[in-house]
């Protein structure tokens, strides 16, 4: 461990704000990148399932 105490680790020798801001933004970007395709997939499934249901209904009515 490079730092002597946890408080020092957070402070990063006066640069804490910059370092933690960078890591925070990175975490946000990575999480957004992971969530976006998952949500996209969910939406696609819902939309296609609805389409299929409607097609089936139309077929049974006709």
């Amino acid at each position: 461990m490079f730092f002597d105490s946890f408080a020092e680790f957070i402070a990063m020798g006066k640069h804490g704000f910059y370092v933690w801001l960078c890591y925070g933004i990175t975490a946000l970007v990575i999480i957004a990148n992971i969530l976006a395709p998952i949500r996209q997939r969910k939406k696609l499934f819902e939309q296609q399932a609805r389409l299929q249901r409607r097609e089936k209904k139309n077929a049974s009515e006709a």
């Binding site: 490079f2 910059y18 890591y23 296609q48």
Partner: protein, 250 residues
């Protein structure tokens, strides 16, 4: 060996095969990616020594450099995938290219914003027209162009082709842009303190950086798989295997 590669290539062209195999491959990329990113972050933040000039702010290197490398690599991959699509008419390649664009742009943005934040303690201002930051900014512009074009056309096929042509033109231009920006930078008083200087890096600093680069690449591969799977489902939504898949989900 060659035959095996050729077989893999032809199978890659089959969306259904890709969809099935990628489900099995995903964890083999996602889990090592998470491990590398966690180990690299902890090591870089808590155990690596501080830089003798920049102090602890140098720890930003562990995300800035991998993001920058990835952003450039992703553009090249996108252009190559586009080229494969144009030459061999392999649809999967076009979908991969469409999957890469937003991921690459987001890493490019990440490299820019971490560079700017890092610049504040190093240079005293948020933005300096430093050669690397400037060429990253121009790379982001190139991504914007490709993404705008991919969305602009009426049919999927033409927009994929247009995006592929533009990304290939951009790929040829990237070295020229980089060279001209570096040359321009040497004329206008370059920042005396460079953000990154590879030559002076000690081993204890370098190893976590390498781990982070590997982690970012694995994460990138995972994200491409996830997005390409969605592209496959969307473009093949009228095919029976996708319809069955959706029916089974309910």
């Amino acid at each position: 060996m060659w035959e095996a590669l050729k077989r893999l290539y032809h199978r890659m062209g089959s969306p259904k095969w890709f969809y099935e195999i990628s489900a099995r491959w995903l964890p083999w990329f996602a889990i090592p990616a998470a491990l590398c990113l966690i180990v690299g972050t902890v090591w870089g933040l808590a155990f690596a020594p501080a830089d003798y000039q920049q102090g602890n702010s140098f720890r930003i290197i562990y995300i800035h450099v991998p993001a920058a490398i990835l952003a450039q690599g992703a553009y090249a991959m996108m252009a190559i995938a586009g080229g494969i699509f144009l030459i061999w008419r392999m649809k999967m390649a076009a979908w991969v290219a469409a999957a890469i664009a937003p991921i690459g742009a987001s890493f490019c943005f990440l490299a820019l914003i971490t560079g700017a934040i890092w610049g504040k303690p190093t240079w005293g201002t948020w933005w300096v027209w430093d050669a690397r930051l400037t060429s990253m900014l121009l790379l982001l512009f190139l991504y914007f162009g490709v993404m705008a074009l991919q969305k602009a056309m009426e049919t999927d096929d033409t927009s994929a082709k247009a995006g592929a042509i533009l990304s290939l033109v951009g790929l040829v231009n990237i070295p020229i842009i980089k060279y001209s920006v570096e040359w321009w930078n040497t004329l206008h008083q370059p920042a005396t303190l460079k953000l990154t200087e590879e030559s002076t890096m000690a081993m204890e600093m370098l190893i976590p950086l390498l781990i982070m680069i590997v982690g970012f690449y694995l994460l990138f591969a995972t994200l491409i798989f996830m997005r390409t799977r969605n592209e496959v489902l969307w473009h093949e939504r009228k095919k029976s295997w996708v319809k069955k898949l959706i029916e089974a989900e309910k």
